[in-house]
């Protein structure tokens, strides 16, 4: 069998998915299922953003599939009038993989949470990212287990007191963006559930990206982890904490843009007052930089205590996808097989056969 050159991703994420001329609205994507999240849950905001964003893609509704795992966020597919599968805990990326490889005409989305994606499903997440499957993963991070009623999660802060950690959690948390970058993700973004504009922009670029896109969405659980991201939503300090990324621009933030991100002596990045270091010291963000070093350093600026939180698109680079490569091999092999005239009978018969002929009286 000859090797097939892997296709370069000149395609966009949705280029093989059929589109429609019909005008779509958010309500076209609203299923008849009653939404059953708790009042005040951040999932409502994300659902509203996704419903109003999907019409923008102009895809045939029947060619969109949402696959989820288990957890509060994983009820998401029930509330969208597309094809959907609410699967099992942690396995949505694996199921989406089989779908994405076999159906290039589908827009495949994974909805998962911090427990689903990073704890029980950690293995599938990193491998879907490494393979660069053409899927978009929405990781709702509320830093708590909600559906099982309030145990700490792999993104909970050290010392967190929960039902399962009455003396405080001694577990060290994951930084999902750092993890994704370490897993060779080609697209990594982050947004806040309540920031419809920022979230929609990240979703837009994630959908357009050919390959695996991971979008971390900070999401509030009002029942078991209420107000966990409030410092990023309200109060005087919001602008001093949020570091929004704009591709091609120097990274600066603050109420008056007074802070900036500069190279640290350690080799990483750090936050400085621009008045102290000067404009020229600011690092410029390039999401398409092949070397993930700066994207990773940016992810490390996001402290677990939310002193600083980087949002936007950390990384958006092109790399061949697994599903395109796998299909290219099948296509090439099929063409070769047709040229050779391969068929089932020839396969079954093989090369080394012997015949048992009937004897003259008809018996073998």
């Amino acid at each position: 069998m000859t090797a097939v050159e892997l296709p370069t991703p000149s395609l966009g994420g949705l280029d093989l998915v059929p589109t429609t001329e019909e005008t779509q609205k958010a309500k076209d994507f609203t299923s008849d299922q009653e939404v059953r999240w708790c009042p005040g849950c951040g999932d409502y905001a994300v659902l509203a953003s996704v419903r109003s964003f999907l019409p923008e893609l102009g895809l045939k509704r029947e060619n969109i599939v949402f696959v989820s795992g288990i957890g509060c966020s994983s009820r998401f597919p029930y509330y969208l009038d597309t094809y959907g599968m609410h699967s099992i805990h942690g396995r949505a990326p694996a199921i989406a993989t089989g779908l994405a490889v076999t159906r290039p005409d589908l827009s495949v989305w994974v909805v998962t949470g911090d427990g689903d994606a990073l704890s029980i499903g950690g293995n599938h997440l990193i491998h879907a990212l490494r393979r660069n499957m053409n899927i978009t993963i929405l990781l709702f991070n509320n830093r708590i287990y909600g559906l099982t009623k309030g145990q700490y999660s792999p993104t909970s802060e050290v010392g967190k007191v929960t039902k399962s950690t009455p003396m405080g959690s001694v577990d060290a948390p994951f930084n999902p963006v750092s993890l994704a970058l370490g897993a060779e993700a080609t697209f990594v973004g982050r947004a806040l559930d309540s920031d419809r504009k920022g979230l929609t922009e990240v979703l837009r670029q994630a959908a357009a990206h050919r390959g695996a896109s991971l979008v971390e969405i900070f999401q509030d659980c009002p029942i078991f982890n209420d107000g966990s991201f409030d410092v990023l939503r309200k109060g005087d300090e919001v602008q001093q904490r949020l570091i929004p990324l704009t591709d091609g621009e120097p990274i600066r933030f603050g109420n008056d843009g007074e802070y900036g991100v500069v190279r640290a002596a350690s080799g990483g990045l750090e936050v400085k007052l621009i008045s102290e270091v000067g404009e020229d010291a600011l690092v410029v963000h390039h999401a398409d930089e092949t070397d993930p070093t700066q994207a990773f350093a940016l992810s490390r600026l996001s402290d677990q205590d939310l002193t600083h939180t980087v949002t936007g698109i950390f990384r958006n680079v092109e790399r061949p996808t697994y599903d395109d490569g796998a299909r290219a091999q099948v296509t090439a092999a099929t063409e070769q097989a047709q040229q050779r005239g391969d068929n089932l009978q020839a396969l079954l018969t093989g090369k080394d056969t012997w015949a048992v002929a009937p004897t003259p009286d008809g018996e073998a």
């Binding site: 699967s87 089989g98 159906r103 589908l106 079954l348």
Partner: protein
């Protein structure tokens, strides 16, 4: 046998004993069992495989039993490193790889020590003397050299310095001593090929193809092979050669096939017959990996293979592909099934087609990866949370795997259900002649996807769990079909409509519907072989015990006793006539390579006092031992 002077002319000079080729006595024999045994690095599996191909090409019936350690290269010359290949070939239809070898080829002291006990007195023993050094003898605890004491007196011993002879023959090639000696397995193959009147061409052709990129290696191996052949021809140590005539098998075109190869072909065929793309999501595991290897070669036949990050992702991807309208397949062994259980349960709830190929091996846990066992039956049957019935198909021999895969796929596609196919290590690696089917006679398995709304209330909605009256299968509506957008998942569904339902009565109904769907799958009646019609004892088997049970029945009947035999190929649902068959006999014996799992199912289901005869030694039953058990049973002495 006529002498072939052309071959003689190619002899290395030092091997031509007296400048002429002598005549050897030729004995006709109906069947022979040969066992090649050596170190893991000695190439015994290849040697056995080649001899098998020669026997197949000659038209013998045959059955094989490869037996090798889980370690790829255990320390050389040790007992755990011994690898063997047993081949039974005959001029009539045979059922097993044979209990005991007639000929044992022992390439080193470890191979001799671990295999000699199986060689009956009077058997032929061919020993590679070069490895019988003090150090090698010491490694396996021989205090004196068995070639020099009288411990081998009961056997017909042929001492052959295979390594030396091979090395000497290969000297002109300029190969290193070490490399040259590695071809000694081909010397052994050549010697045995001569003893049994096998042609040399197919093996020479095979070697040229195998080493196409290194022609010098091909020629060296061919030289070693011919040297072995000529050694038999010219030395006087072998007084007798044997002829085993072709077997009178049913008319047809035959090829040799292993269980795993037949299984892979069955999967390819299922894709062609259903006109669906095949998607294999899997993770390497012994003894199932060859199914992945084989299917990965058939991308041109519409097969996509995906080597996942783990067993769970393998089946998850397969189920995702099924959701998208492919024939989703996963291949594994017992430990992998344990990991896949949750996804199998999801497939039961989703009611989507999925083929699970379980090549059973010794357990529990990692167990005996390269040895055979039948202890996954209850895992396949019940190894999930909740009431999660899954059909189970169990082929009885290597060649049956082809049809079994097609049947399993047909059930999966027709009834929208995961289906287990239970093979095992003996079937997977064992080989036999296969009467190649005419592809045009294979069944059409075309599938109709749902295309239209189906709500009985005329609402124009699509109800994903509205069932077919006949099969109880739900519609398969694949993404991309306009108007049929729907959401499915592991939560309980409302009967018909398919929305989430926690209603108690609905759950009870859905549990029973899922069970009824599987119970209602039509299954061929079990056939009973009771030649005299007088038998009081029925021996009932499943899976790879078919061969040894059949061979045992022949022996019992040959001794003038009556015994009936039946074999089950659908473990779930069971054949409709099985209860009647069981009740028709006074005594029922069920031999299994587990601790009585099928017997337990039968007792529970039919209230019949079936008796288990069990062995979990990692090796198939021997016909002799089963014949003993059945003879005792006929005489009223049943297994406990």
């Amino acid at each position: 046998m006529s002498t072939d002077t052309e071959v003689g002319a190619e002899l290395p000079d030092h091997l031509v004993a007296h400048g002429e080729i002598r005549q050897t006595e030729v004995k006709q024999t109906h069947r022979v069992v040969i066992r090649f045994a050596g170190d893991s690095g000695d190439g015994m599996q290849l040697t056995g495989d080649r001899f098998t191909s020669e026997a197949a090409a000659f038209g013998n019936d045959l059955a094989t039993l490869p037996n090798f350690p889980a370690e790829i290269r255990a320390p050389a010359g040790t007992l755990p490193g011994v690898s063997s290949f047993q081949l039974h070939f005959a001029d009539y239809d045979i059922l097993t790889p044979g209990d005991r070898p007639d000929v044992l080829v022992a390439m080193n002291p470890a191979a001799l020590k671990s295999n000699l006990e199986d060689l009956p007195h009077g058997g032929v023993l061919i020993v590679n003397t070069d490895e019988f050094t003090k150090r090698n003898l010491g490694k396996v605890g021989y205090e004196s050299n068995p070639l020099e004491d009288d411990s081998l007196a009961p056997y017909q011993v042929h001492q052959v310095a295979m390594a030396t002879l091979t090395r000497t023959a290969l000297e002109p090639t300029g190969m290193s001593k070490k490399d040259a000696e590695r071809a000694k397995n081909m010397f052994a193959l050549g010697l045995l090929s001569w003893m049994y009147h096998r042609g040399t061409e197919s093996t020479e052709e095979f070697l040229r193809e195998k080493f196409a990129k290194k022609p010098e290696l091909a020629e060296a191996n061919i030289l070693a092979f011919r040297t072995g052949w000529n050694y038999g021809e010219t030395t006087e140590s072998f007084a007798v050669t044997y002829e085993v005539a072709p077997a009178a098998l049913p008319t047809g075109t035959y090829r040799q096939i292993t269980g795993n190869l037949a299984l892979a072909y069955g999967v390819v065929a299922a894709g062609q017959l259903s006109k669906l793309p095949v998607f294999l999501g899997t993770y390497p595991i012994t003894p199932a990996s060859d199914v992945l290897h084989e299917l990965s070669k058939h991308k041109g036949m519409g097969v996509t293979t995906f080597q996942a990050e783990d067993e769970i992702a393998g089946i998850g991807a397969a189920l995702g592909a099924s959701f998208g309208g492919s024939l989703g397949v996963t291949s594994t062994s017992g430990p992998g099934v344990a990991l896949k259980s949750e996804t199998i349960g999801l497939a039961v709830a989703l009611e989507l087609p999925l083929l699970i190929l379980d090549i059973q091996r010794g357990g529990p846990s990692t167990g005996l990866p390269t040895k055979t066992e039948q202890a996954d039956l209850l895992q396949a049957m019940y190894g999930r949370n909740g009431e999660a019935p899954v059909p189970i198909i169990a082929p009885a021999s290597p060649s049956e795997c082809f049809q079994a895969a097609i049947t399993a796929a047909r059930i999966a596609l027709t009834y929208r259900t995961p289906v287990f196919l239970l093979s095992d290590g003996a079937i997977a690696n064992g080989s036999e002649p296969w009467n190649v089917p005419d592809a045009s006679t294979l069944p059409d398995m075309s599938v109709e996807f749902a295309t239209e709304a189906n709500a009985p209330d005329g609402s124009g909605e699509f109800w994903p769990y509205l069932r077919d009256d006949d099969t109880l299968a739900r519609p398969w509506a694949v993404p991309g079909t306009a108007g049929l957008e729907h959401r499915i998942g592991g939560l309980e569904k409302a009967d018909g409509r398919g929305s989430i339902s926690y209603d108690p009565d609905n759950h009870d109904r859905m549990v029973r519907l899922r069970q009824a769907k599987i119970d209602g799958i039509p299954v061929d009646d079990v056939e009973v072989d009771d030649p005299s019609g007088q038998a009081e004892v029925l021996v009932l088997g499943w899976g790879s015990t078919f061969g040894p049970i059949g061979a045992a029945c022949r022996r019992v009947r040959a001794a003038g006793l009556d015994v009936a035999q039946a074999h089950v190929r659908s473990m779930n649902p069971l054949p409709g006539n099985l209860g009647d068959v069981l009740h028709r006999y006074r005594r029922v014996v069920v031999p299994e390579m587990n601790l009585g799992q099928f017997a337990m199912m039968l007792r529970a289901r039919y209230l019949v006092d079936v008796r288990s005869y069990t062995k979990v030694a990692g090796l198939p039953f021997q016909a002799e031992e089963l014949a003993g058990v059945l003879t005792d049973a006929v005489k009223g002495d049943l297994p406990a």
